[in-house]
């Protein structure tokens, strides 16, 4: 998603993404459940934005199985 997009643009893209991915997963939801799912996905998108700008060095690997 582009950096300079407005909240309205972002929400529209998220609506389209949620609908497309639900279809891809084969999940058929009633309207109330679909709307609540989109609300929860918007929250996840906001969480994603919190870490999106963190300057993580390229050499840092994902912590898959996490033996300390």
């Amino acid at each position: 998603m582009e950096k300079n997009m407005t909240d309205k643009d972002r929400n529209l893209e998220i609506t389209q993404y949620v609908d497309a991915t639900l279809a891809l997963h084969g999940l058929e939801l009633n309207e109330a459940r679909r709307a609540e799912t989109e609300k929860q996905f918007l929250l996840l998108a906001s969480m994603s934005r919190i870490i999106a700008t963190e300057p993580i060095p390229d050499e840092i690997e994902p912590a898959g199985i996490f033996r300390l």
């Binding site: 929250l43 840092i60 994902p62």
Partner: protein
């Protein structure tokens, strides 16, 4: 029954001295459970026949002069995501209600049984372990023994309530984002979330494999350490379980805070705490002689990353069932699971990379300190059904935000003990005692020091004893 041994330490001593039999201890515990559980809804299944059968075996062994076991004649109970032979493993979910019974005990139950523990039953929880309030649509809400109108916390809410009500001295729970620490704080008992990879999860239902931990809740620090010690040991069947030797903690408890460099966590951990929570953190820091206040860099981002990983892994885990049996899901969390299944891989990967990076920065703090102190929950126990909590002038939804202070710690697998303090309102508030990886001994020593000072204790009512 008023003078009957109650803590695990008392049960072991009374049994070993011949003062009481294991059968008498088991019977007393089962009576307490049957009397109190209708009001609490902590136990989903009471395994009375098994409790008494295990007790009779211990009594017979003592008659034969068999050597004493480390947890002999101690009643305990487990969150119902652990496999118990002959019982269907529910994880608080109707989805699993028609599954066949487990064919054998989970690994930790095997170890507790081998140490002489008496299994009293299985305990209520948020469905799938996805929640912090144990408000379960299909199995009912668990009520907090300190105030029945309030939440016991979650997702190990039944475990917290059972220990706080004095029904069993030890309960076993799980903690992905705070599910041992939140109930410990809200119910006013001691809890331990060990280092990620310390205790094997074999024979327990997963929720978020890369964040799931198991651990004990208990009446006293000595009981907590006893339970933790007998559950230690590697297990090749859990791929995340470290190949470490048993590192026993009980013998070191008396060392208290001797030689420890301690700091209180400020910044994020004050900003997301109500007045009672900040008070608990400050007073614990004073008693433990914390020299400094420090901030964990990136704690808010860590919480966000933990939230994403949790949603994504749990959503993926339940995707097939969501397609096929969506109406059987818990209404409180079904849309969160669906939304989690839609998370793009790039978001998930970034969260996992942030996890590694954040760990490296937090480990740098432990070059200067051995122990960090923070509140365990943003607020004391909310009312059951309460939709929002207040932190300063902010009003936040209750369910996702009770883990605000626990998520940035479990995200990187650090060991944490929770010690309960008591606020002016009469409700408990736990403090997190956080140590470097594999140093559960430090967490427990600090909890023991708070307990010894009289500031912290589980205040089990005398009526339960």
């Amino acid at each position: 029954m008023s003078n009957f041994p109650f803590t695990a330490t008392e049960c072991i001593a009374a049994f070993n001295s011949g003062e009481v039999s294991a059968s008498e201890i088991a019977t007393a515990s089962l009576e307490r459970i049957r009397h109190a559980n209708p009001a609490l809804n902590a136990f989903i299944e009471i395994t009375g026949e098994r409790t008494l059968s295990e007790a009779r075996l211990l009594d017979a062994a003592r008659k034969r002069g068999a050597s004493m076991l480390p947890l002999a004649a101690v009643p305990y109970a487990v969150k119902n995501l652990f496999d118990v032979e002959g019982i269907t493993t529910l994880a608080g979910a109707r989805l699993y209600a028609h599954n066949p019974p487990a064919r054998r005990d989970g690994k930790l139950l095997e170890r507790l049984h081998g140490a002489g523990g008496l299994l009293a039953g299985t305990l209520n929880m948020d469905a799938y372990a996805y929640g912090f309030t144990t408000e379960n649509t299909h199995y009912g809400s668990t009520h907090n023994p300190r105030d029945l109108s309030r939440s016991a916390g979650g997702s190990s809410g039944g475990t917290g309530a059972a220990v706080a009500a004095g029904l069993v001295p030890i309960g076993i729970g799980s903690d992905t984002n705070g599910s041992i620490r939140v109930p410990s704080s809200l119910c006013g008992v001691f809890g331990l979330k060990p280092t990620y990879g310390r205790l094997p999860r074999t024979g327990s239902l997963p929720f978020v494999a890369s964040l799931d931990h198991l651990g004990p809740l208990a009446t006293t620090v000595a009981d907590l350490a006893l339970a933790y010690d007998v559950m230690q040991g590697s297990d090749p069947h859990d791929p995340a379980c470290a190949q470490r030797p048993v590192e026993a903690t009980v013998a070191d408890l008396s060392r208290g805070i001797e030689g420890l460099r301690i700091a209180r966590l400020a910044g994020y951990f004050d900003d997301n705490a109500c007045e009672d929570a900040r008070w608990a953190s400050h007073v614990a820091a004073k008693v433990l002689q914390a020299a400094d206040e420090v901030e964990i860099p990136g704690a808010a981002q860590a919480r966000a990353a933990a939230y994403l990983i949790t949603a994504s892994e749990s959503g993926a885990l339940y995707l097939d069932a969501l397609r096929e049996r969506i109406e059987e899901f818990e209404p409180h969390s079904v849309e969160r699971l669906i939304a989690g299944s839609l998370v793009p891989a790039a978001w998930y990967q970034r969260a996992q990379r942030y996890r590694r990076w954040y760990l490296e920065r937090v480990l740098a703090l432990f070059e200067d300190y051995d122990l960090l102190i923070a509140p365990a929950t943003p607020v004391t126990a909310p009312l059951l059904g309460q939709q929002h909590i207040r932190i300063g002038d902010r009003e936040l939804p209750t369910r996702p935000n009770m883990g605000l202070l626990t998520q940035p710690i479990s995200f990187i697998g650090l060991p944490v003990a929770v010690a309960p303090l008591w606020t002016g309102s009469g409700l408990p508030m736990g403090v997190q005692l956080i140590a470097p990886p594999w140093r559960e001994d430090i967490c427990l020593r600090a909890a023991g020091a708070l307990e010894k000072s009289g500031l912290s204790g589980s205040r089990i009512s005398s009526g339960a004893r």
